[in-house]
Symmetry: C2
Subunit: 221 residues, 2 copies
């Protein structure tokens, strides 16, 4: 799978919030260029990943091409962690992305001996579960306006720097995350722009500044 990739093994660095100095875990770094698949659904889950820089989308496909993005992974996020032997999503780099990765088996080895690590695996899985549970409510019961508002607040929380949110993903990605079409997402964003709830900066429409978080939050009850 990684045969054609540069294997730039780096010095040991913390992953998962614990120092692996005395363990056998030696993370490596990889780079995936925009649009590249990191792993596919149902492929063996040999590695666990952490985003160093960039952004990743995890999604499932139906046979006719309909796509549901389950999560976006941004700088710092860990993804690809499966308790099972296979990945349940396809993961793709949204932009040029650097990841750190460790062998899953070595991680499990450590977890077998270290209760702290085992606990942190459970914690990560629970965090993922919690996100999925909230997302079920969004997908099952919220309007397009509420979905986009929730998305903006989530991204605001996760990647806003200096008041500006620079979205790495395109409208189609947002739509497939929210269970909408890209046109609907675009229309809602235009609507929120008209209402001065947000503003676009620059020319590519991916830099957004939230002008009225409170108004968005009211849509998120």
């Amino acid at each position: 799978m990684f045969a054609d990739l540069h294997t730039t093994t780096t010095k040991s660095q913390p992953i998962l919030g614990f120092s692996p100095s005395e363990t056998k875990i030696t993370p490596s770094e990889f780079k995936y260029s925009k649009g590249t698949e990191i792993y596919g659904e149902a492929e063996p889950a040999d590695y666990v990943y952490q985003v160093i820089d960039g952004a990743v989308r995890s999604y499932k496909l139906l046979s006719d091409g309909r796509r549901q993005i389950g999560a976006f992974h941004l700088a710092g996020d860990i993804f690809g962690l499966e308790n099972d032997d296979v990945h349940r999503f396809t993961a793709e780099a949204i932009v040029d992305t650097t990841v750190r990765l460790v062998k899953r088996v070595s991680l499990e080895h450590v977890a077998q001996e270290d209760l702290i690590v085992a606990h942190s695996l459970l914690n990560m899985t629970t965090t993922n579960l919690q996100h999925a549970e909230d997302h079920m409510l969004l997908l099952g019961r919220k309007t397009s306006l509420e979905r986009v508002a929730a998305f903006l607040l989530e991204m605001d929380r996760r990647l806003t720097a200096a008041g500006i949110m620079a979205l790495p993903m395109c409208r189609r990605d947002i739509a497939d995350y929210l269970g909408l079409t890209l046109e609907t997402v675009s229309r809602v964003l235009s609507y929120l722009n008209d209402k001065k709830v947000l503003g676009f900066i620059g020319q590519n429409q991916r830099q957004i500044v939230l002008l009225n978080r409170g108004q968005l939050a009211e849509l998120d009850l």
Copy 2:
């Protein structure tokens, strides 16, 4: 919370697939009558539950009453397991239901010492996560027909006895699970009945026999 309930403490019986004979875990049994709340969203998670007999729905509410059911818990299922201190769903008995319950702290105590138990907690959480991930795809991207088909196959797998599926939940519950209205669910079931994909038995429309699983499965790609 349980002050008004009969505390029929029973002899120790296996929960979570391990025998607690040498641990301090002593499960008790409770009965909840139809429609009763077992715990509420954001309440402290003091107990973990297992359905002995009956059925339970776990759901989230929006402020205006829209409801999303995240899961149905049937005989044998464990629910209410939170890594956090609070429940993230409200749980209600769909029909008269008997549950076994154990104190969450005692379970965590055991997990602290026993790696097998710790691992089984992770496994359960992963199972829940997997279900939620599949359900996101259903809620975000499937048609009403595909949703009902998936629901029928899930229930067929989980509770069919002697070829007959006796649904404990009403149309509204199914609708709130599938992100539809009860009318749409009813229409799709009528449609599948007309097409001889399923048949209703008896008079209350809750006993269903699947006549053509293959045709349903084709809708589930």
